[in-house]
């Protein structure tokens, strides 16, 4: 099944403080391959499998297109974790 919450999220030092408090809600970006992971996320919907709303799925034509620079940009903008699934 599509792993919805990444096992490891990259921790940036200034994030750690936020994480120490209990109400920390990470924003997680999931870069998903159109052919498999995105379809799996769709199926999770059809099956009404529940997961937290702070995971946002973005479709890529192939998970091979996930670009390191793109991922770093995402962290720069304050995303707390990135999941590449394909």
């Amino acid at each position: 099944m599509f792993g919805l919450v990444p096992e490891k999220t990259l921790k940036v030092s200034f994030e750690e403080e936020r994480m120490a408090t209990n109400d920390f809600e990470p924003e997680i970006l999931a870069l998903c391959c159109e052919h498999c992971a995105y379809a799996a996320a769709d199926l999770a919907g059809s099956l009404r499998l529940q997961y937290p709303p702070n995971v946002k799925v973005v479709m890529l034509p192939c998970s091979g297109q996930a670009d390191v620079v793109q991922i770093l940009h995402a962290f720069e903008r304050g995303v707390d974790g990135v999941l590449v699934a394909g």
Binding site: E27, H35, A39, R48, Q50, P53, V58, V69, Q70
Partner: protein, 1616 residues
């Protein structure tokens, strides 16, 4: 047989072409002359110069040939055939018996040997098929018959009703949520009976068509028996669910008076109820009454007024049940309706004829008020004096529904005395509160229900003594028995069987008694006349002081004068046409008791409905006679079905819940209701007794809920005819019914499941969400056993199902993947891992996952009743090490505790497993046999299709082709290959009509939006309540309006419904939008649909973005309204941010070189070449050797004819094939030729060929072609194993075959040198002892697929030539898959010996000196030693011949060719297809295809089919004039490129190359170039490029960063 040849003859292949042939090749190499070349090709194809092939129906086509194909069966085979045909320019009708396509593949979890998700691989194909403009998917359809001949068939289809309009259904699923009917699991075909489902269902979540279906078997008997067809099953289902308001809603659809009918109806429904067959009928009427009581207890909600849509007005005379029903129906139809009632109260007989204790007035008033609310005008105290005045008042039609209120007296003396009353008047006066004065002894005359009412009313009025006398005997009284019983209980004294002579006078003109006679015999004849005989001398007097006649009623028709034009019958009723209820005067109708005489209330209501429909037709000016309605079957259960349901436990005997009633004493004193009605608990209990006979209960909940009006419960089965040119049958298989293998306990032991059930247990979308749980206790199984060959290779099945070994291995691996500590044992006979990559997969299962394969066929199993574990007993042939087993020692063995034992081979052991999976084989269903019969094609005894030898896709009827397991059991890739192969056959047949029936959508010209400020429109979908029910759609809309560039935002109930799609186009135009965002569901299925709206509005389709707020918000955060709303806003924000930066993309049309290059002149190459040439495409056939034929030249004995009953000679087939190739003018054969250069892309390749001509000179030339087919074959391995090459008695299989052929006198060619030596020996002394060794050399690494069968065929041939020969076959596994199993059986029957060996005990071959008669020229003889595991010792053989089954290896030069073509090979050197399951003949590079041994070893027939498949794939390109390229592709900015080669290395398709003519960074020569036509748009190069020199269009950095940036950022300020 060669129909293609026939039409080729017709089209007149003519000398002019042959003259031009030389030129043609030249022309094709010259771009400028392309147009001329096309003209020539057109001429060849269509016989007339100057016509084009652009598909605009300008082709001159033989009028008889239809450019459409019917594909029967929507599994993966049917899907592939449909796509190939539709892409190649043919119209396709895809016929599927179920409600969606996908077949068995859609049920699978994973596929072997890649472990790809089955749904992920098939789903894109499903969507593509569903959306294809030229594929019509006909679901729920069955082929009844076919007429005509190849090229022009008329097919008759039966379409089962789906009750859902597929075009309107958006698949939102709201209907499922309200469906109250749960269907037993065994009807859930897709989930293999593991879980129940609703009557409303979709086969599976990704089903195509994405529409629901209603499981309705027919009409339930209760509905059928009811005059108004009340949907009783529907409201009962809703009552069971506690949904009382909804229950009343559906009741009121058919019946405006449910509270009344629930009390006084004669409920024929209950007489018809199937439950009566088991115990007692369901108390349907009481349940109806319960619902009204429940709802009417609540404060009344006013009923909305019906909309007045028609100008006409209707007058209805009489406010009884009939008149009021008609009035309600007519206002609902939009008419103005006025009801005239003479009495001061409405309700007719209900109100003034039925006593209060049976029918309280408040119910009547309430139900009438509901009708009046809808807009019916009621005029009380308004007696209509004449009809003319009504018409004068402006009424357009009149309905007479005055009832029968006039009581009748018998014409006997004394009938006019004081104290003689009439029933109607009596009851009316009581109901109106002015009861007449009665005496102390009342006599009621009459035996009907009304008479009983009268008597019981008299009791309640305090009359001390009430008598009732009637003509009929007690048994024959017309009143209901329960009514009579009630009356007696209340003290009414009955006098049945009396004839009334006269009423006695007390002398004062008052009643004193009735003089009666006893009746001896009475009967009414057909005309209604009474025949009466009385007992002579039986006259007697019953004393009384009041007599009430209750012997019948008549209509009061005083207002109809004789000259009104309305006829009256002799019985005093209005004369009407019974079909239309029209009276003799136009515009006047009559219904109810005034037409029929007194009847039950439900009949009055029925008449009201009928009258309303008739009046509607009259007012619309339509034909008055109703059109006959096709009707659904009535679901009557047979006693067998009842027994079956009882046995399955689907029904439990349970008597009817009794109705509470008022006690007798209380009844006598009051007019309160006698029957008290059910309470909620009793009602739900009683409702649960309903058998749901029709499955769908017709409760109409779905109909009320559906927002798109897709539901139509009135659909009926229909028969259609379609005209097609060819038919492809892909009906698939049915798994063997494991119930039949009783010894294995399926159906009795819960933890024995079939392999398909296990597949569903593994599947993430299955009933356990992918957690394997055993059925008995939902615990996870730790030990699983797979039993192979269930329904294969047994007494009833002489074939192997081909797929079970591999799927069991896959399932075992997946079980271990889910839970790594799972222990799996697979009980097999032979491991049939015979295809590409299978052996490696099998090895991995053992080595990586520790799956054990036990060579034993399990003959039965037992269950441990405590644990529901299963106990297997088997022979441990290979020894069991460290397993928890019991040693079996007689029947007491089961008592021992299992222990860890190390056992010797051959020990019988018992072992317990948590779960047993039965690997069921393939069978043909009864439906498939019927299909074969209907189509007039031959099937074998098992129902498989008989096909021609070497040509498995051709059935015995020309023009009808077959593919998939229907031909022979096979797996997915082979089915896909056959499907494409069958498609080619149809294409060849129908080539003249290509493009005649396809259509293309036309769009307006595109608007240039460059330079425009983004103007984004956002459309947010409610998806019924799928989205709106779980998040605040309105808030999302408001939020969207605040986002930058958004100029319009709106919400739609269903954004994907047809009207919404058109609406989006309108809104784009109206607001001048240049970007569109739809926030709804998934782009994977819906993006193309919305892009279409953009194109229709003149916008580029790439200016579109979706926010998936259903699958990613509402459905997955359904308990978090706030969170889901917030996320939906984020997703919309992200979508808008990207949309604003999207740029239009354009595709370019590139012309296609309409010729093919086929490499390899063997059977595959020749077949591919012919398949294309016969469709009219020129072919260059390149063969390295000096003659055509390839490996087929070495095959003399066929395997294809075994079991088919047809004679097949491979050499004759070869000769025919070569002849046809040589005669085919469109094929240019290049012998002694090799490919030296290959460049270009699909549609446009250029190749250089090098020929060694006859004079020994090398010549090079260039050809241009649109496609390339690789059919370069393979060759027999020649290694030095087992003394091969050292001793002439050691032969390869190919050599042995030549020898056999020569010995049998069939060798057309001289045997090769080595075999001729052996042959010389043979002539002296035929071989007496032969040993064959299978799996030689590389075959230990991969299975060469054909060797086992080939060896067996040769062994059989040798036995035929010399029955005394002793043949021993040393094997690892005998892999005679499919029908080839029959050869294995035959070989054993003929006495061939089989000995299995394994890696640890390989056969040993040596030359030994022994002084025997077998001495050879060297004085040495062959000695073969083989290990016999059961005896545990080596056996020795001294054969005359040792035959090595050497495998097929890739042909020489395969590696070089792969480099030239830039295509991949697998580890064993065979060419690698794009996808092992679904693209088995495509290379990863578009435009290059694969067939024959170059792909993998295969039999002749398999190679032929694969070659055809490659041709089908090629034809999808060659049939077009141009190809669209571009769109989402990678683009290089050369000025940033350092030509570092990173992209060249990472591209999986080998597209990027360095162009030295381009200038890179700093103007240095050389930069990467990506050919638009080849790029697949995956973007891998983009991610890897260290210079950021490559951008993927539509996913540019700017677009993606804007999107990801918008994830967190606050909205940018709107530019002022």
């Amino acid at each position: 047989m060669w129909i293609a040849g026939q039409w080729r003859g017709r089209r007149g292949l003519s000398p002019p072409f042959l003259e031009q042939r030389e030129n043609c090749e030249e022309l094709f190499t010259n771009v400028q002359s392309k147009a001329r070349a096309h003209q020539i090709v057109d001429y060849v194809l269509y016989g007339q110069e100057g016509q084009t092939m652009d598909g605009n129906n300008t082709l001159s086509v033989h009028p008889d040939v239809i450019g459409a194909v019917m594909v029967v069966g929507g599994g993966i085979g049917g899907i592939q055939a449909s796509l190939d045909l539709a892409e190649a320019g043919f119209k396709v009708y895809l016929v599927e018996g179920k409600s969606a396509i996908g077949g068995h593949m859609a049920q699978l979890d994973k596929t072997f040997p890649t472990n790809d998700c089955a749904m992920c691989t098939i789903s894109p194909k499903l969507v593509e098929t569903g959306r294809h403009l030229n594929i019509d998917i006909l679901t729920d359809a069955e082929v009844l018959g076919v007429e005509g001949e190849a090229g022009n068939f008329t097919v008759t289809l039966r379409r089962k009703p789906r009750y859902i309009d597929v075009d309107k259904c958006t698949g939102c699923g709201e209907c499922v949520d309200v469906c109250p009917v749960i269907i037993p699991a065994r009807f859930n075909v897709f989930e293999e009976g593991l879980v129940e489902r609703r009557a409303m269902y979709r086969l599976y979540p990704q089903a195509v068509p994405n529409a629901y279906v209603i499981d309705k078997l027919g009409i339930s008997p209760c509905r059928d028996a009811c005059p108004i067809h009340q949907r009783a099953q529907g409201y009962i289902a809703l009552i069971r669910e506690g949904r009382f308001k909804e229950a009343l809603r559906v009741i009121k659809e058919d019946n405006p008076f449910p509270g009344i009918c629930g009390r006084i109806c004669n409920h024929r429904c209950e007489d018809a109820c199937n439950r009566g067959l088991i115990d007692e009928p369901v108390a349907i009427a009481a349940l109806k009454r319960f619902v009204t009581d429940m709802v009417y207890k609540q404060p009344r909600e006013p009923v909305p007024r019906a909309e007045r849509t028609r100008p006409e007005r209707v007058a209805i005379i009489g406010a009884g049940p009939c008149g009021l029903t008609a009035a309600r129906d007519l206002v609902r139809k939009g008419y103005g309706v006025t009801v005239f009632e003479a009495l001061p109260v409405a309700g007719g007989m209900l109100r003034v004829g039925v006593p209060e204790y049976r029918l309280p007035s408040w119910i009547i008033e309430r139900e009438i008020q509901d009708i009046l609310d809808e807009g019916v005008e009621l005029k009380l105290n308004h007696r209509v004096e004449d009809l003319d005045s009504l018409f004068e008042q402006g009424f357009d039609a009149v309905l007479i529904a005055v009832g029968a209120h006039v009581g009748k007296k018998l014409p006997i003396p004394g009938a006019d005395l004081e104290g003689v009353l009439l029933n109607t008047i009596f009851l009316r006066e009581v109901r109106l509160g002015e009861p007449p004065k009665l005496g102390k002894k009342v006599m009621v005359l009459g035996g009907g229900n009304v008479a009983i009412d009268v008597a019981r009313t008299a009791v309640r009025l305090g009359v001390p003594e009430v008598h009732l006398a009637c003509l009929e005997s007690r048994e024959k009284m017309p009143a209901h028995p329960w009514e009579i019983e009630h009356a007696e209980a209340e003290g009414v004294i009955l006098h049945p069987g009396r004839a009334f002579k006269r009423i006695l006078d007390d002398g004062n003109g008052h009643v004193a008694g009735v003089e009666c006679e006893e009746v001896a015999f009475m009967e009414f004849d057909a005309e209604g006349r009474l025949h009466l005989e009385t007992v002579p001398g039986s006259e007697h007097v019953i004393e009384c002081d009041t007599v009430i006649f209750s012997v019948g009623q008549a209509a009061g028709l005083a207002f109809i004068p004789e000259d009104s034009g309305v006829g009256i019958t002799s019985r005093g009723t209005v004369a009407v046409n019974p079909n239309t209820l029209a009276a003799t005067r136009p515009g006047v109708f009559a219904a109810g008791d005034s037409v029929t005489g007194t009847a039950f209330v439900v009949e009055g209501i029925a008449a009201g409905h009928q009258a309303a429909e008739s009046i509607d037709r009259y007012l619309r000016g339509e034909e008055l006679e109703p059109r006959p309605k096709p009707e659904l079957p009535v679901v009557k259960l047979t006693p067998e079905e009842v027994r079956d349901k009882l046995e399955r436990g689907e029904i439990v005997r349970q008597p009817r819940v009794p109705m509470p009633a008022l006690d007798v004493e209380a009844r006598r004193r009051t007019f309160a209701e006698v029957e008290l009605g059910y309470n909620e608990e009793l009602a739900r209990k009683e409702a649960a007794r309903c058998l749901a006979c029709g499955h769908c209960s017709e409760c109409l909940s779905c109909w009320y809920t559906c927002g798109t009006g897709a539901i139509d419960h009135d659909m009926v089965e229909r028969v259609e005819k379609l005209n097609v040119g060819a038919i492809i049958l892909a009906p698939g298989f049915q798994p063997y019914d494991a119930h039949l293998a009783e010894e294995l306990g399926f159906g009795r032991y819960p933890n024995v499941v079939t392999s398909l059930q296990f597949e569903r247990l593994l599947s993430a979308s299955g009933p356990t969400f992918g957690h394997v749980r055993r059925p008995s206790d939902h615990e996870r199984p730790r030990k699983i056993a797979f039993l192979q060959c269930i329904g294969s290779r047994d007494q009833e099945h002489d074939y192997c199902s081909s797929v079970c070994c591999m799927y069991a291995t896959k399932q075992a691996i997946m079980a271990c993947e889910h839970e790594p500590d799972t222990q799996v044992k697979v009980f097999i006979m032979d491991m049939r891992a015979f295809s590409k990559g299978y052996l490696e997969y099998y090895r991995r299962a053992q080595e990586k996952y520790g799956i054990e394969y036990v060579r034993c066929r399990i003959s039965g199993l037992m269950e441990n009743p405590q644990t529901h574990n299963l106990i297997l007993r088997y022979v441990s042939t290979d020894g069991v090490e460290g397993s928890k087993v019991r040693k079996f020692e007689g029947s007491s063995g089961a008592e021992q505790e299992p222990e860890t034992l190390n056992l010797e081979p051959g020990t019988i052991v018992e072992e317990e497993f948590d779960l047993v999976v039965l690997s069921v084989g393939m069978e043909m269903s009864e439906e498939v046999r019927q299909l074969g019969h209907n189509l007039g094609i031959e099937l074998d005894g098992y129902g498989f299709c008989r096909s021609l030898p070497f040509d498995p896709v051709r059935t015995t009827r020309p023009g009808i082709y077959a593919c998939g397991p229907f031909v022979e059991p096979k797996d997915i890739p082979e089915t896909v290959v056959e499907a494409s192969g069958a498609a080619t056959c149809a294409e060849v047949l129908l080539a003249p009509a290509r493009g005649t029936l396809v259509r293309e959508k036309e769009y307006p010209p595109e608007r240039d939006v460059s330079g425009e400020e983004p103007r984004v429109g956002v459309f947010i979908c409610h998806c019924g309540s799928n989205i709106a029910g779980f998040l605040d759609v309105e808030a999302v809309e408001e939020y969207a309006k605040t986002l930058p560039y958004v100029v319009h935002a709106e919400r739609n109930l269903y954004t994907c419904s047809q009207d919404s799609i058109e609406h989006i186009t309108e809104v784009i135009k109206e607001h001048n939008l240049n970007r569109v965002v739809v926030a709804s569901c998934t782009p994977l299925t819906h993006e193309p649909l919305f892009q279409d709206s953009l194109r229709m509005a003149g916008l580029n389709p790439y200016l579109f973005e979706m926010a998936n707020i259903r699958n990613q918000c509402s459905w997955v955060h359904s308990h978090d309204w706030e969170g889901a709303t917030k996320k939906a806003k984020s997703l919309v924000r992200m979508a808008v941010a990207r949309a604003a930066r999207l740029e239009p993309l354009y595709k370019v049309e590139v012309p296609v070189q309409k010729a093919a290059l086929v490499l390899g002149g063997g059977v595959a190459g020749m077949t591919a070449a012919l398949s294309l040439a016969e469709q009219g495409f020129p072919v260059h056939l390149v063969e390295r050797e000096g003659e055509l034929g390839g490996n087929l030249r070495h095959i003399y004995i066929a395997v294809e004819d075994r079991g088919s009953g047809m004679e097949a000679d491979p050499q004759a087939y070869l000769r025919e094939l070569v002849e046809r190739v040589e005669e085919e003018p469109l094929i240019t054969v290049h012998l002694n030729t090799e490919l030296v250069e290959h460049s270009g892309y699909r549609g446009n390749f250029t190749s250089r060929l090098r020929t060694l001509n006859g004079e020994g000179f090398v010549e090079e030339f260039q050809v241009r072609h649109g496609v390339t087919i690789v059919a370069t074959g393979g060759q027999e391995y020649r290694g030095n194993e087992y003394l091969y090459g050292e001793d002439p008695r050691v032969l390869t299989g190919q050599e042995f075959e030549a020898l056999l052929a020569a010995a049998a006198g069939r060798g057309a060619r001289p045997p090769q040198e080595r075999s001729s030596l052996a042959l010389a020996d043979w002539r002296v002394a035929p071989p007496q002892e032969v040993v064959m060794i299978l799996c030689v050399g590389p075959a230990e690494k991969y299975c060469s697929r054909i060797c086992c069968t080939t060896a067996l065929k040769q062994a059989i041939k040798l036995k035929e030539l010399n029955p005394d020969a002793r043949i021993t076959v040393l094997y690892r596994d005998i892999r005679t898959y499919g029908f080839k199993e029959r050869l294995y059986t035959e070989a054993r029957e003929k006495g061939v010996l089989f000995m299995r060996y394994d890696d640890e005990h390989r056969p040993q071959v040596e030359l030994v000196t022994r002084n025997t008669q077998h001495e050879t020229r060297n004085g040495q003889e062959l000695r073969v030693r083989a290990w016999e595991p059961t005896f545990g010792r080596w056996m020795e053989f001294h054969p005359d011949l040792l035959v090595l089954s050497n495998p097929v290896v890739p042909s020489e030069g395969a590696k070089e060719l792969a480099t030239l073509l830039k295509v991949s090979r697998d580890l064993d050197g065979f060419f690698l297809e794009a996808h092992v399951k679904l693209r088995p003949v495509d290379f990863a590079t578009d435009g290059i295809y694969l067939a024959g041994l170059a792909h993998y070893p295969k039999f002749i027939g398999e190679a032929v089919v694969q070659a055809r498949a490659a041709a089908a794939r090629a034809a999808t390109i060659l049939s077009r004039d141009t190809l669209s390229v571009g769109g989402i592709v990678a683009q290089v900015d050369a000025s940033k490129c350092t030509a570092c080669l990173t992209c060249v290395r990472v591209c999986p398709y080998g597209v990027p190359r360095i162009n030295h003519e381009l200038k890179g960074v700093g103007g240095i020569a050389g930069a990467a170039e990506i050919e638009v036509a080849q790029c697949r748009g995956c973007g891998i190069c983009v991610a890897e490029c260290p210079d950021k020199a490559i951008q993927l269009m539509h996913y540019t950095d700017v677009e993606m960063e804007a999107k990801i940036g918008a994830l967190l950022e606050l909205p940018e300020p709107v530019p002022a």
